[in-house]
């Protein structure tokens, strides 16, 4: 799991590359939290285009990112979600709480 990103005009974009499971989630959450704290964006975009696998560990990560963004009056978007992660998001019902769009 590799996370790269940039912040432009208050929008923090984070690109997820690789597999997001329990093994990689802790480091991913840390990287995400640090960047939100550093930039205090009004919008945080999780770009899942290169996410090759995700299980329920990813749901916990998205929910925590959403909580953190709400605390700073911002909003969270999840974009370019491939088929397998999308099935996990669908099964979890999280798509009713978070703004999610497919590939």
């Amino acid at each position: 799991m590799k996370i790269t990103g940039y912040c432009k005009q208050g929008v923090l974009t984070l690109n997820f590359n690789g597999e997001l499971d329990h093994h990689s989630a802790r480091a991913a959450m840390k990287a995400l939290g640090e960047r939100i704290d550093a930039f205090m964006p009004r919008e945080c975009v999780l770009n899942f285009k290169e996410l090759t696998f995700m299980d329920s560990s990813g749901i916990a990560l998205i929910l925590r990112a959403d909580k953190r963004m709400k605390e700073i009056d911002g909003r969270l978007l999840v974009v370019n979600v491939p088929a397998q992660p999308m099935r996990v998001l669908d099964a979890s019902g999280i798509d009713r709480l978070i703004n999610i769009s497919g590939k």
């Binding site: 597999e19 499971d21 329990h22 093994h23 989630a25 802790r26 959450m29 696998f53 299980d55 329920s56 560990s57 749901i59 916990a60 929910l63 925590r64 088929a83 397998q84 099935r87 996990v88 099964a91 979890s92 019902g93």
Partner: protein, 145 residues
């Protein structure tokens, strides 16, 4: 139903082995010529069950995990994941969506995802002895797709 092929895989409950376990299960299931979606479903369900052993069954140690994969004569894929960890007191409650004893790191959606992606999910557990999760999924034959 007769077992057409099987494998038994034993590994350590290290988080680095989560990806090994789901990939190995997928490599074995490949013999049934599943679709990419079916393969993704199997990998996800295995990932949830193996993660549960590592996170919940063995919270303070690196325990042993055993995964058995079976291909049945009727093209059903069966996988069981076993640990010798703390066990589950109330299985019904544990399987409820959002229920978790894992805090903020976990979503409580593990069992829900297993049930959603597999045809059947059975849990056997004894407190202090360990847990076995057995899941089945019928793989559609290419011809009939």
């Amino acid at each position: 139903m007769a077992v057409a092929n099987y494998t038994k895989i034993e590994f350590l409950g290290k988080s680095a082995n989560e990806s090994f376990a789901r990939s190995a299960a997928a490599c074995f299931a490949a013999q049934l010529d599943p679709t990419l979606e079916e393969l993704g479903d199997l990998k996800t369900a295995v990932s949830e069950a193996v993660t549960n052993c590592i996170v919940h069954a063995y919270p303070n140690e690196i325990g042993r995990i055993q995964m058995k994969c079976r291909i049945m004569g009727d093209d059903t894929f069966e996988v069981s994941i076993k640990d010798w960890g703390c066990g589950i007191e109330d299985i019904k409650k544990a399987m409820e969506p959002l229920f978790t004893t894992g805090g903020e790191d976990r979503s409580g959606m593990g069992f829900s995802i297993m049930e959603c992606f597999m045809d059947t999910v059975k849990v056997k557990s004894k407190v202090g002895k360990g847990t076995t999760v057995t899941m089945k999924k019928k793989i559609a034959r290419k011809k009939s797709r």
